[in-house]
């Protein structure tokens, strides 16, 4: 396995421990109060750096020789410390941030209302939240720089005030002005954001991916459009250059205006210091303080702006965290391979009368869409029955399933389900796990029951070599064929031991013999379960206990094959004709 012992040796382990404690306090803040700002989270670290610089700046109060010596140290120590102390520390912090935030992010995403994931309105927030973890890390650096510069400017201004009050006031004005100007000026980030929002910029990305990506490699060779796409890409680059150039010139001019104003004010203050006369040492110190104050003061606006950006993403992350459930404690699992435990199997209660799941007068409209996907639909599923759900593309079959398993909640009406459900989706994910893990995901509390995994794989008709069952990450999808994938997806349902199975086109990629074999195998395995089968292959649906035909979000027909076929002109009759006419 990938797990290795994670030790953090080195002389700074103690420091890292101190920080860990501080950080733990901060992170609970994240968990409890979703409105935490990145700046708050960064405070402990910022203090470390800020204090150091503030101390160095205090040295200015001892002119001339002692002050110079301290100044020299103040210059040298941060330079030394920034890489030797701060670097590793920042890395440790960044690790901790990721280790804490990523699981919480994942957990929230897996517990928030599922519909949000596909809702176009919430995409921006979801995207921002994905970057939120990185933003919190960056915010550490930014906030510490901000505090450092605040402290530095404050100290330098105070010192200057004791020497030349008027010059200090002018420097203060310069700092405030530069802050004001920074509001006008744009940062690199804003520039990048604005530029990347240009449609032509996005087009360049899309086109280049077509040219060099794996996805279009086959079609590019067959259709031979490489030259066209390359030319289009070049045109897009040239076009975006024109659009960018204008924008960039504008933003450059603004920045230059800010620079001219700030440096001008600094020069004026310097002249004032010089014009006043006084000892060389005092003058030198005053100038030094002046330069420090205006330079650091000028940076404050930049830090503030950059922080605002990171804060935005952090706030989005907080928003996502607030919508889902958090994990109280994330730890490395002790081992992924524990010996199998003995398992108890409880046979499901069988009674044909009692509905184990029901949709009553359900109406559902997808966000961003006008027409409802499901309108006033009622459906009862009784324990032990085999129900086939058929209908043309876009008739609402997938929506019914999503409502049934609780991924979506209805706008009107109600959905009841009393039992656990196992599902094989048509576009089931092809995880890059071992086959063993893939199957055991059906019931993760039995993740280590190796015996059970093997027997389930056998029951699903999968005869895989051992290295694929419990080996390392599969590197290539080629190792498992399409039919095997589909069996794996079904094996997962088997392994989940759920009393209700929802199978969405479980054989779409299978050859006829494999399809027949698979149904034969699962016929036996499903004897104890209630099955909802969604399919376009009416031959597979015909012997179901009940066939429900959907069209336009409503149930249009409901009954056994024979009953439905009695109506030749009905939707089912027509579909049956179309398909069976072919193979007779």
């Amino acid at each position: 396995m990938e797990i290795q012992s994670t030790k953090r040796p080195g002389p700074w382990a103690g420091l890292s421990f101190v920080f860990r404690t501080l950080w733990t306090a901060a992170r609970f803040h994240v968990a409890v109060d979703a409105g935490l700002t990145a700046a708050e989270a960064a405070a402990p670290l910022a203090l470390l750096q800020g204090t150091r610089t503030v101390l160095a700046d205090l040295a200015l109060r001892r002119p001339p020789w002692g002050g110079f010596a301290l100044l020299a140290l103040g210059e040298a120590i941060p330079a030394f410390g920034s890489r030797v102390v701060y670097g590793p520390l920042a890395e440790a912090i960044s690790d901790r941030v990721t280790l804490f935030l990523q699981p919480q992010w994942a957990s929230s995403l897996l517990t928030m209302p599922w519909g949000r994931l596909t809702d176009p309105a919430s995409q921006e927030i979801l995207q921002g939240a994905r970057d939120g973890s990185a933003s919190v890390e960056v915010a550490f650096d930014l906030a510490s720089a901000l505090i450092r510069d605040l402290g530095r400017t404050g100290c330098a201004l105070g010192f200057l005030f004791t020497l030349r009050p008027l010059a200090a006031l002018m420097a203060l004005v310069a700092c405030c002005l530069s802050l004001l100007f920074w509001r006008l000026a744009t940062t690199q980030w804003e520039e990048e954001q604005r530029l990347s929002a240009l449609p032509i910029r996005q087009r360049t990305g899309v086109l280049f991916t077509i040219l060099t990506g794996q996805g279009a490699a086959a079609e590019l060779r067959i259709f031979g459009y490489a030259r066209y796409v390359r030319d289009a890409w070049q045109r897009a680059i040239v076009g975006s250059q024109r659009a960018e150039g204008r924008l960039q010139l504008l933003m450059g001019m603004r920045r230059i205006a800010v620079d001219v104003a700030c440096i001008g004010l600094t020069i004026a203050s310097a002249v004032l210091v010089m014009a006043h006369g006084g000892s060389v040492a005092v003058e030198g110190s005053a100038l030094w303080a002046l330069i420090t104050a205006t330079q650091s003061g000028g940076d404050i606006g930049y830090w503030l702006k950059s922080l605002a950006k990171e804060n935005q993403n952090a706030a989005r992350l907080a928003e996502v965290l607030a919508q889902g459930r958090l994990l109280p404690r994330v730890r490395r699992p002790a081992s992924l391979h524990r010996p199998g435990r003995s398992l108890r199997h409880v046979p499901p209660v069988r009674s044909h009368d009692e509905p184990i799941a029901a949709l009553r007068d359900v109406t559902f409209t997808y966000p961003g869409s006008v027409a409802p996907a499901i309108q006033g639909l009622s459906l009862e599923i009784r324990s032990g029955e085999r129900l086939a759900l058929v209908g043309p593309n876009g008739s609402g079959k997938s929506t019914v399933i999503r409502l049934l398993v609780g991924l979506l909640s209805p706008d009107e009406g109600s959905v009841h389900r009393t039992v656990r459900v196992g599902i094989a989706l048509q576009d089931f994910p092809r995880y890059r796990f071992t086959a063993g893990e893939y199957v055991a995901m059906g019931r993760t509390s039995w993740m280590h029951a190796e015996h059970r995994i093997r027997s389930t794989l056998r029951r699903a008709g999968l005869d895989l070599p051992p290295h694929q069952v419990l080996g390392r990450i599969r590197k290539r999808a080629k190792d498992i064929s399409g039919g095997q994938w589909q069996r794996l997806a079904l094996a997962k349902v088997l392994y989940s031991d759920a009393p209700l199975w929802v199978l969405d086109e479980p054989t779409s990629a299978l050859d006829p013999l494999a399809e027949a074999r698979l149904y034969g195998d699962f016929q036996q395995q499903s004897a104890r379960a209630t099955v909802v089968l969604v399919t376009h292959r009416l031959g597979a649906a015909r012997t179901a206990d009940r066939i429900v035909v959907l069209d336009g979000g409503r149930v249009v027909q409901d009954g056994t094959h024979a009953e439905l076929l009695a109506d030749r002109t009905g939707l089912y009759g027509r579909m049956w004709q179309a398909q069976s006419g072919w193979v007779q």
Partner: protein
Amino acid sequence: MKRNTLVRLVGQAVMRDPLPLALDLLVALIQGGLYGGVVAALAHLVDVRTVRAVLLWGGAQLLVALCGRLRPVLTRRAQNGIRLALGEQLAEATARLPYADFERSDFLGDLEQATSVLHEDRVYQLVQGALTTVTEGSRIVAVSAVLVGLSPWLALPAAAAGAVQVWADARRVREQYSLYRKREDRQRFADYLGGLPKDPAVNAEVRIFGARRWLIHRWYAVWRGLQAGNHALADRQMRRDALTRGATLAVYLGAFAWGVVLAAHGQIRLGGVVALAAGVRSVQVATEEISYQMADGQRHVLHLLDAAHVIDRSAACLPSPSLKASETITATGLTYRYPGSRHRALKGVDLELRRGRLLALVGENGSGKTTLARILLGLLEPESGTIAGDGGVPARRSAVFQDFVRYHLSVREEVGLGDWSRLSDDASLWEALTAAGPGATAAAQLGLDSLPVLSGGQRQALALARGLFAQGDLVILDEPTAALDPLAEQELFGRFVSVSRGRFTVIVTHRMGAAQLADDIAVMERGRIVERGSHNELLMARGRYARMWEAQSRWYRDGSGPWRSR
């Protein structure tokens, strides 16, 4: 070889639009020289005490800042020039590479590295690094001139401290890169695991099966494993840094003490001490910057070598010969083995395609149907065996795959890429869209040039429209109807039969109903064609095809079905 390609690559990229780069170089030189001016002004400031000195200093500072603001505007153009030159090379190279390369994960790693050269503007950064080196170098020269004026011996130790820094940075970069390449797979796996909750289908499944905790812990375990390596690297790095920074600090403090001694002897004045300290620090910062840039450049070069590797590789590839056929295409003794696989996917396939006759390829999963289709399309080069036509005009190829491409382009381009020479032919675009069914026309309802948001079904329809628009002589449909309902499916196959007139057409399918429509059927098993003939002949033969037919049609004929009645 690789290095020559690298030099050529960078050279071409830089020479594409050299003017902004030259201007940038000029600005960089001025900027560096001005730093010297600032230090000189500082040295005179405290001594001379004139308003003129302040103005000098301020003016220098202002110019430095303005130059800094000017450079991005200039370099943007340079950056685009480099991007264009490099992209051209890479696009040409990847288009020449054989398709089989895209099936290998190790090659995909190389390709990802190679394209990162463009995405991350590595050549530009390399050039930018060189310019920064020039700036810093001129800064060192300018400041050293001032320093030598104060005390001639000071430049030496500053340079010595810098040399240590260069060594340490170079080591760091090499270690980082080798660690990165070594753990690329695991890193990608960790990223993959981390991104899983975002995928709606995965998210749904994980919720339903209650695998949330397990998934998160799985990521956690992999991530922790990766971190252990990072920490080891960081620790080594920290020790090296402590050494180099210690040396730097010692030199700086020594220089300062030297200045104080000189001042105490009255050789220099107070302003001289300030300028000395600032100057030494300035030289050190500049050396560090140069060292950093050199190390960074080394990192870029390592990645650029990957790009050079891809380009070299493609140079050795010949374009697949075009297939000239008027009436028949004959394949003889085709064998194929996927790279890294132990078994042959094809073990000697003979096949004849005739114009106007639809061939259906059926067979079990993994019997080699798709491989054969890919070889016919010229995507894969057979290990042995040949495909030959009977002369005439070159045959255009066209295909619709089960895992079709999602392009994210306008409808016109999504469809028109099939045959881009007719991209502006609206009438035939609409024809293809109509032929592909209502899903395709619905996708284009906002106009051909719209960039629509598409459902899965609509994307499949567009892929079909693209295949039809290509008007290929050789058209292959690889299981295109997996997600279609019975009525739509029948309509599509009916349409395809009419397309097959006057063309070489192959359909790969599991639907025996569709196979029945074909003129010839070839049944594959374990990389060989085991039966061939018309539907009726094959049914009479009572072989594998008959069994498959029986398995699928049984449910429609008699009363049987997959679920036994209880």
